[in-house]
């Protein structure tokens, strides 16, 4: 049922796109028709696939590092009220800085290679992962904590056996957001300076008026993001089901 709805809305999007091309009579280097883009996607599948793999690698590494850092930060903040007072405002303030603005400086520091893109992805997902997991850790149902206290539980065991498992659904929500944001971070990094990746390919195609290739690269990026999102959505549902026993 969900798949049918998804296909229907995708078909609607294609129809509107095609209609705009026909009605406005746009030349294909301004807005290529869906058919042209899909043909280009197929014809250049080797080229697009090669660049998509680079971006995927950046995204996955960025997600792995960002998730580990986010989880570690959330645990630290959950355990230490002092750290929460001290670092909480910094964490929120850091979100006021547009990540886009940091891309050039990251490239300056980390070079044109893989690491400036990974750093972008890490930066962009760090906050959603940290804040959603922290939220879960700080909102353990009071009854569980009372029970643990009456049982003379050790704080470390309470964290391990109750607070973390109870917060996993929140972490799942954070990871779901991260799966959508991480590709954006990687592509921004590639725009600023790269010789590989879908972001680089888009700029290259755009500069040579190969609009259909550019659109094909965008489609490939969308497809990658959607697959990542679905994977983490499934993970998030699994964690939530486990935490509620449903």
């Amino acid at each position: 049922m969900r798949l049918r709805h998804a296909l229907a809305s995708f078909a609607l999007l294609i129809a509107v796109w095609q209609a705009v091309v026909w009605l406005a009579g746009l030349p294909h280097f301004i807005l290529p028709s869906p058919l042209r883009v899909f043909t280009e996607l197929w014809d250049s599948r080797a080229l697009i696939g090669e660049h998509a793999l680079v971006t995927l690698g950046e995204v996955l590494l960025g997600m792995a590092i960002g998730t580990v850092l986010g989880i570690a930060t959330a645990l630290h903040l959950a355990l230490s009220p002092r750290a929460r007072q001290l670092l909480g405002p910094i964490l929120v303030f850091s979100q006021a800085i547009p990540v886009f603005a940091l891309a050039p400086v990251l490239t300056l520091w980390l070079g044109y290679g893989l690491w400036s893109k990974i750093a972008m992805a890490v930066l962009i997902i760090y906050f959603p992962v940290t804040s959603s997991f922290l939220d879960g850790l700080l909102n353990t149902p009071q009854g569980y904590l009372d029970l643990a206290r009456a049982m003379q539980a050790r704080p470390g065991q309470v964290l391990l056996r109750i607070r973390i498992p109870a917060a996993l659904p929140n972490l799942g929500t954070g990871l779901k957001l991260a799966a959508v944001y991480a590709p954006i971070g990687a592509v921004i990094g590639e725009w600023v300076g790269a010789s590989r990746g879908l972001g680089y390919l888009m700029l290259l195609a755009n500069g040579r008026a190969k609009t259909d290739l550019m659109f094909a690269a965008v489609l490939a990026l969308c497809a990658m993001s959607v697959v990542l999102y679905l994977l983490f959505d499934a993970l998030s549902r699994h964690l939530a089901a486990r935490a509620t026993g449903g």
Binding site: G143, Y144, D146, L147, A148, R149, A150, M151, Q152, A153, R154, G156, Q157, V158, R161, I162, P165, R242, A243, T244, G245, G246
Partner: protein, 243 residues
Amino acid sequence: MSPAPGIGFSGAASVEGTALFSGLTLAMAPGRWTCLLGASGVGKTTVLRLIAGLAAHVDFEGSITATDGQPLQDRIAYMAQSDLLLPWLSLPENVAIGARLRGGRPDLARARDLLARVGLGDHLDKRPAALSGGQRQRVALARTLMEDRPVILLDEPFSALDARTRADMQDLAATQLAGRTVLLVTHDPGEAARLGEAIHVMAPGSARSFDVPPVPVPRPVDHPDTLALQGRLHAFLRKGAPA
């Protein structure tokens, strides 16, 4: 299990300057069921939480002592209205959670035995979500028994159950917890009449004790003495504490 001590409670409690009760004195006899009955908001749960060491936000002036002079903290098991089962654990793991939380090794075989004792022997492989409300409270009772403490604090553990399940649980708890010092906080006069070997009704500012009939607990729901006591408690609750 060490011998069950009696508990003496006296003092005054307030939260952020607002008095909950003052000059309250209660004595809980060793190895007996003491019921603390009262309307919502008179502070009966606060009394229980103070004894359990779960009232960090309450300013308490007074004393809570065991009759044998030993500390109470590690001799208490606590059971609340919500079963507090962890949905991600199996039933035996839930029953044995206390040992895990103290960093020890859980005795799952004993947990299974206790689950069988509370009538859940056929449900050992289920998760909490697959159980009814009454069955979940049975698991919570098994977890309380697993702790094997001489003092049991029950905070309205049966009040969310339907009438029949509640009566079954009262019978089961009375049998399984015999010989321990039990404090049962409840707003249900029928429950107090069935289970109380001593009954204190808490009203704003004071507590009044009621005489109980010589029928052993759990008293049958339809015993004339149970019904008469239930009626007296109910009438007293309705008109409030006389000055």
